[in-house]
């Protein structure tokens, strides 16, 4: 069964305190690893797609990296507005494009 596991479940940071979120996956033949941000009461907002081990993508204070078994979302000098739930997802092995989501990391950045 395809598995996408995120850790930690929740993370509390002070403004400016850098950290990393982890997403490990057991999907074989990975056809993409997606990161999303979800704010309360809203739909997931697309952040990054990573396709191959060693790939990195950056956007403002966020950088996503991918290895053969996991992905990291690095947050550098976070601000309170970075507070959200961060989700990673991967298409399963079925040959279709159904996304299997992790349960997310809820990030709270305090001023």
């Amino acid at each position: 069964e395809d598995q996408v596991t995120q850790s930690p479940e929740a993370l509390r940071l002070q403004e400016g305190e850098s950290s990393s979120l982890n997403c490990s996956y057991t999907v074989s033949g990975l056809r993409g690893l997606f990161w999303y941000r979800q704010d309360p009461g809203k739909g997931p907002e697309f952040l990054f797609t990573l396709y191959s081990a060693g790939e990195e993508k950056e956007k403002e204070r966020l950088k996503a990296t991918l290895t053969k078994k996991e992905s990291f979302l690095h947050i550098t000098a976070p601000k309170p507005e970075d507070s959200a739930t961060y989700l990673c997802a991967a298409p399963g092995d079925s040959g279709y494009s159904t996304l299997t989501f992790g349960k997310g990391t809820m990030l709270l950045v305090s001023p």
């Binding site: 697309f46 797609t49 298409p91 279709y96």
Partner: protein, 113 residues
């Protein structure tokens, strides 16, 4: 449009009533996906379409759920005879290609009383 649109934003139904949700994908996107978010961050895939054709329906509870994507109309997800456990936020997403990133709408919150 440039964003996935979903209507209504909220829907309240009594148990046993019908519920119908609508989704307009981003213009030019060929794929539409429906997901159900029950607990805080648990997404369950329901069904996907490639244009008006069902692409993958492995997640659909077939006895009460149905969905359509017809040309020149919003896609729809219909639940006949709603049950309490159908209470959830239903998200629609669209993508250009089967393995491209999916862009999500704001969701429809269905409450079954």
């Amino acid at each position: 449009g440039e964003e996935v649109a979903q209507t209504p934003k909220h829907l309240v139904r009594g148990e046993g009533q019908k519920a119908k949700l609508y989704c307009a994908p981003i213009k030019g996107h060929s794929y539409v996906f429906w997901y159900q978010q029950v607990l805080k961050n648990e997404f369950k895939f329901l069904i996907s379409f490639q244009n008006e054709n069902v692409f993958d329906e492995t997640g659909m509870p077939k006895e009460r759920f149905s969905a359509k994507c017809l040309p020149n109309s919003p896609c729809s997800l219909e639940i006949q005879a709603t049950k309490l456990e159908d209470s959830a936020v239903y998200f629609c997403a669209s993508s250009q290609g089967a393995d491209n990133e999916q862009f999500f709408g704001p969701g429809t919150r269905l409450t079954v009383l």
